[in-house]
């Protein structure tokens, strides 16, 4: 089958191109496979990279589930010893809930306010270029700069050390993302359809509800997934804005398995799998949307 590639014209060329793609795909998946491989090892072999002779076990997940504050609770003397486990009721489900809650709240809140702003910017060119840039400025600022003072500002407002504090911190990137992407999507949406509805006697509000909302669902979906993933993955804000263990999110939990002297590889691998899996599932849908968009652009189905 001949390809439509503008640069690859020969069979040999295809072979070279595909080889490069395969090599890079291997480079891409190897760290994932290595984490899964490590998580399936018995705990005492986790630090032995060459170990291949073992029965796969879910021990690492049990360790993750049981290990409370691994950083201070764990002791280790050589690769043979097991981790000193502090069993006091696993908070992992609470960390999962925290992560889901702050990411979900940040996504919904930013989409809600962002949609109105984006519509106004796209349709009426409100504020022009300066407003567009102003909405993007916060993502240029290093999060560490926000973190330093946010802890005290939120504390003074009585919302310090809470999930609200984290969600508000996430607004510094969620609103810019929401406004930016939704503006692009609104601009791409043919204005004529909306105007036709208005000529037919609909008010602008009804035209938006009847014409734009149903057609923009995929756009909202994609933007929402992107913001959710970014929020779910965020580490610095929950890490620096809260000091209450019950407010930890999954990325913060993952970081507790490593200290300057210790690397609790087994439970860490399990925690990484639990943290990353939901996101990859969402990313798959986002990827599908992006690729479909690209196909539509080129007229390929």
């Amino acid at each position: 089958m001949s390809s439509d590639s503008p640069i690859i014209k020969s069979r040999a060329g295809e072979l070279v191109a595909d080889s490069v793609l395969v090599v890079f795909a291997l480079f891409t998946v190897f760290p994932f496979l290595w984490v899964v491989w490590t998580a399936l090892k018995p705990e005492h072999l986790a630090l032995n990279p060459g170990a291949t002779n073992f029965t796969p076990t879910l021990e690492s997940f049990e360790l993750m589930w049981d290990l409370v504050d691994a950083g201070s609770g764990g002791t280790r003397e050589g690769a043979e010893s097991t981790v000193d486990i502090t069993r006091s009721g696993s908070p992992v489900h609470l960390y999962l809930f925290n992560t889901l809650f702050v990411a979900g709240a940040a996504t919904l809140l930013s989409l809600a306010v962002g949609a109105f702003a984006a519509y106004s910017i796209a349709r009426f060119d409100t504020g022009g270029m300066p407003l567009r840039v102003a909405f993007l400025l916060p993502i240029l600022i290093p999060p560490i700069a926000f973190s330093i003072s946010m802890f005290f500002v939120w504390d003074a407002l009585g919302i310090g050390n809470s999930r609200t504090a984290i969600v508000l911190a996430y607004m510094t990137f969620a609103i810019p993302f929401a406004v930016w992407f939704l503006t692009v999507f609104f601009e791409e949406f043919p204005e004529e359809l909306e105007e036709a509805a208005m000529v037919d006697g609909d008010t602008r509000v009804r035209a938006v509800i009847n014409i734009i909302v149903p057609n923009m669902k995929p756009a909202f979906f994609a933007t929402g997934i992107l913001i959710f993933i970014y929020s779910w993955n965020n580490f610095i804000f929950p890490f620096l804005l809260t000091n209450d263990e019950s407010l930890r999110t999954m990325p913060v939990l993952v970081s507790t398995y490593v200290t300057s002297s210790d690397l609790l590889v087994s439970p860490m691998s399990a925690a990484i799998i639990v943290t990353v899996s939901p996101v990859l599932i969402l990313a798959y849908f986002l990827g599908k949307f992006l690729i479909e968009g690209m196909n539509a652009q080129t007229g390929i189905d």
């Binding site: 439509d4 503008p6 640069i7 490069v20 793609l21 890079f24 795909a25 891409t28 760290p31 290595w34 630090l47 990279p49 690769a79 306010v113 962002g114 109105f116 702003a117 519509y119 106004s120 910017i121 409100t126 270029m129 567009r132 840039v133 400025l137 916060p138 240029l140 600022i141 290093p142 999060p143 560490i144 700069a145 926000f146 330093i148 003072s149 508000l168 607004m171 510094t172 609103i175 930016w180 692009v184 993933i229 993955n233 990325p251 993952v254 970081s255 490593v258 690397l263 860490m268 990353v276 996101v279 990859l280 990827g287 599908k288 690729i291 968009g293 690209m294 652009q297 080129t298 390929i300």
Partner: protein
């Protein structure tokens, strides 16, 4: 839907009309997002600015209180530690963004116009950018760590013995590899989207004129892709300049100060040494540098309206 008991819609639209005379609808729509964003950014920024002019320490509180620009002279302008971190950050940015751009463009060229390959390979290639940054750091830390990592083990099989995290250069290289793994996909997706939206004709014309494939890419594709590349590079420079979770997870700035970056120094001084006033002055400086970058980029014409 058809009935309108009590003419509520009429009343509602009249109120809306009154309101529109004071604040036009378009500004009312922008207001919630703008006000919320201003609330979460301006208060912390103002307080950060104030802190940067004080000698506030988390444990000691204020000793002399406001000390003016002292932090900026001692911890920014005259601090070798901070200069070293800025240097490390610059080297890190230069290497990772260059490699990501070249690799991303190469991969995009290989997938260009090949929907089948795109369908199966692209989802795999994109995965790293969706992994939590701190998790990426930890994954690479335990793959590269001496004695327990797979990378030193494999390299020792071919006679290469590198102790990645005790060597100043290799520690930085390990950080770079992790970042390249994570963010090349970002370049790939932007470049591929850009390539797929390029018009056919100029390429056809160049080929008819007898240009080789390499010449077509160099003389036709690259110039047309320039706006996309410029924006992608800018985004990556800004993002790479913030590098922190990876440093925390992989090297904690070490060995010595070999992998200390700007954000890492702010964290170390502010949250480990508790000198928030000093850290604030460095955070403000970092922010100003990034904004300076935007200014340069904006006025050099890299940022155009159709980017949005």
């Amino acid at each position: 839907m058809a009935t309108d008991p009590g003419g509520s819609r009429e009343r509602a639209s009249r109120t809306l009309g009154d309101l529109q005379e004071v604040v036009p609808l378009r500004w009312t729509l922008v207001a919630p997002a703008a006000l919320l964003l201003a609330f979460v950014t301006l208060l912390p920024i103002l307080y950060l600015g104030y802190l940067s002019a004080t000698d506030f320490n988390v444990l000691r509180g204020m000793t002399e209180g406001v000390v003016g620009v002292q932090n900026y002279t001692s911890a920014v302008l005259e601090s070798n530690e901070f200069h070293n971190a800025l240097g490390n950050t610059a080297v890190f940015i230069a290497v990772v963004v260059t490699v990501q751009t070249v690799l991303g463009f190469l991969l995009a060229l290989l997938l260009w116009g090949r929907p089948k390959r795109r369908k199966y390979v692209l989802p795999v290639l994109l995965t790293p950018m969706f992994v939590s940054w701190v998790a990426v750091g930890l994954m690479f830390r335990f793959m590269f760590e001496d004695g327990i990592g797979i990378v030193p083990l494999l390299l020792s099989q071919v006679g290469v013995n590198i102790s990645w995290f005790s060597d100043p250069t290799y520690a930085l290289v390990a950080l770079m590899i992790a970042d390249i793994w994570e963010w090349t996909p970002f370049m790939l997706i932007l470049f591929l989207a850009g390539l797929e939206s390029l018009p056919e004709e100029p390429h056809e014309a160049a080929r008819v004129d007898g240009a080789s494939r390499l010449e077509v890419i160099k003389d036709v594709t690259l110039p047309m892709m320039f706006p996309v590349i410029a924006v992608a590079v800018f985004i990556r420079i800004v993002e790479a300049s913030k590098v922190f979770p990876k440093v925390l997870a992989m090297t904690e700035g070490g060995p010595g100060s070999a992998t200390e970056t700007g954000s890492w120094i702010v964290y170390k001084i502010g949250f480990r040494f508790n000198d928030l006033g000093v850290a604030a002055s460095q955070a403000v400086s970092l922010t100003l540098m990034v904004l300076g970058l935007l200014y340069v980029f904006y006025w050099s014409g890299g940022l155009q309206k159709d980017v949005f």
